[in-house]
Symmetry: none
Subunit: 221 residues, 4 copies
DNA sequence: TATGAATGAGATTTCATTCAT
DNA sequence: GATGAATGAAATCTCATTCAT
């Protein structure tokens, strides 16, 4: 009785069906008719909710990405240290992509290549997530956690590129191989790579000289 | 022979036209008719040389990738040190992608997402390049240049993922932004990340003791 | 009663909206949804009042044409002379079409071309108007105002055809040009064309002959 | 072997089929599929020759109208007197419309109502025919054949409007009634309506008076 | 070998219309 | 009586692909 947008249910049902079909066959090989079948509605109904096939594609990430971003934004202030923040974000991507394989397939194989998507609303959430990651990196540089002579954009590209690359291969091989648990190893390498090297420490050496002729002992590690 | 050459020409002409058109508009938005126009042949002629639109797509990387791989393979033995080898390979990708924007656009935006491409001949060259990179990483681990507790596949993913990510963005923004010169910074970070930390060094300290009781002064920081 | 009125209102509202939309975009390019929007009701409501899109179209002229015809019929007996009657009728068309541009657009561009309209109720009023015009012409022939060797149907076609043609062009040019004030010039031409020519008059010539013989001069060539 | 435009035959065949189908059912109720069937080609073939359904519609009058106009233009200089020229033109319309009923149906019921047609190439021929008619009327005014106080545009509207109106009705009644042979009666009425009234003539009366008592003869006509 | 011409097979999209509430 | 929601049924148009010449 007078839902705001026709029926929320049907909207979601269609989005879900589209996510599945697009994710499996790719945008161009998917047909509205197949999505309609998957959603249990008629083709015409899809056009009641979405203006075009492309609109439907672009409407998908909105919801799911926004949720992830909200979560990130809510969590960020409570995490101490840039490295920990970055870890939370990367882990967030990992979880999101791993637990929503259709979604990651869609984003990585279809949406990211669509120039028009950059103008669509759903892209904003994606951009925001990337911005949060960049902030964390800069924060680490300022706080001294990371070196100051690194390019934060490059660091972000390393992180996102690696994540995407690994998921990408996973999808290309149709997810038949185990997805490697790469988050910690990646961060370990990166942290070494961009972390401050240990300051040269000052050693205090006490030497007591016995009364008669002495032999030097080597320093202990 | 003359005929042979003529055919060879036409083959190449079509490949070039296809590279350009696919690279500009993407596989699905390109039409055979447009490629035919660009190549100056009829559509039917394209089907004399290639069995289908997809075949034509898959035929493109063969040539160009093979050249790049040949170059790599020829060069590899002459380069000392895993880090240097890796640098050569990464730089090779960088040059290849930068100087052949249609090619990189095609590979990154179209081919990589096509599962069938993995069965096509042209994919072999891509795989070989990746294999060479992996070998170099492993070599570095064995030689002690790199730590032994890293996952070489992850390292390769970091390298390839970063390269792809950066070129990807460059294409998405229609190459209007300057492509960052990321090779050295990336390798610098990675080398620190995976390189062996300096061995604790042994210092030889000679102390001569004056005849009368003396007190050592601590080194000044 | 209140209900009755409410319905009457809605009926009229829909007719008005349909007149406007059909008149502007033409029958085929107009959509029920647009008419519903213009009328401020739902599409389904339109179907409560009219059985189909075509029914709605055919229902439009009924009201307005009937009014015009009633007016004509009421006025006719009080007008002396066929020419004056015809003038009243033509002027009636002129006023009707000019002051109801949506209506004339609809009638001239849509309704008149629809064979089915000839079976619809609204067509009766149109036919009646044409019949009245024909009667006036015949009356003029009988009364001697007009020649007897003319075809009254042709005369009617001249009148209606001219009116329609001029309004037609006016609409095609989107009413941006001034509508010519053609009624009197048209009737002037037609009246001369079909009016009785002046009877050959008999002249009375009185000739008085002078006493001495005279000779006339022959006509010069 | 290398016709200029694919095959002239097929082009004509499609035009003819389209003329028939559009003429019978009207533009909107006709389907490409039906035209294809009537032409004995596939739907796709139609789109090889014409860019869209509308293009096909607009392409129809080009040929046939142009022929008629060429004929008119060729004939005009050899006809003496404006009235005769006008008669030739009106008769030309009459023949054209009568002998090509699909064509006249199409023009009167579909094309004339299409604002876009006014921008199409085929419309030029229609305009030219109208221009020739107008010229003839003006010529008659200048030569003194017609009165000078008439509006030539109105006269043209009378002619075209009447022609269209009569053919219009003929088509609406599905050509089951005999088409009246209206050309001469129409021109007779119009010529009287716009023609110069006879100048008051001067009669020369010769009277010869016989020497002895004479009787007057009545004047001769 | 090269191609002009033709088409099969669908895909997206639109809308008038229906029906349960 | 009014309508939100859903859809059946088509229609236009596109293109990869084929084939006779």
């Amino acid at each position: 009785m007078g839902n705001d947008f026709k029926s929320r249910d049907k909207f979601t049902t269609i989005i879900d069906a589209a996510l599945k079909v697009f994710g499996e066959k790719g945008y161009y090989n998917a047909t509205i008719s197949e999505i309609a079948r998957a959603a249990g509605v008629s083709e015409a109904t899809i056009y009641e909710y979405f203006g075009s096939k492309e609109d439907l594609l672009f409407a998908i990430p909105g919801e799911i990405t926004r949720q992830a971003v909200d979560f990130l934004e809510g969590m960020a202030p409570f995490i101490r240290g840039a490295a920990n923040k970055i870890r939370a974000i990367v882990y967030g991507y990992y979880r999101l992509y791993k637990e929503n394989p259709y979604y990651s397939s869609l984003v990585l194989l279809n949406l990211k290549h669509n120039r028009k998507f950059m103008d669509a609303e759903g892209y904003q959430a994606v951009k925001k997530a990337a911005a949060i990651l960049l902030e964390a990196i800069k924060e680490g540089m300022e706080s001294g956690e990371f070196r100051k002579d690194i390019d934060p954009y490059l660091v972000r590209s390393i992180l996102l590129g690696t994540i995407e690359h690994i998921f990408f291969r996973w999808h290309l091989k149709e997810r038949r191989e185990e997805l490697p648990d790469f988050v910690d190893p990646l961060l370990e390498i990166l942290t070494r790579g961009i972390g401050k090297p240990p300051e040269p420490r000052t050693y205090q050496i006490n030497i007591s000289i016995p009364s008669e002729g002495a032999s030097g002992t080597p320093p202990a590690g």
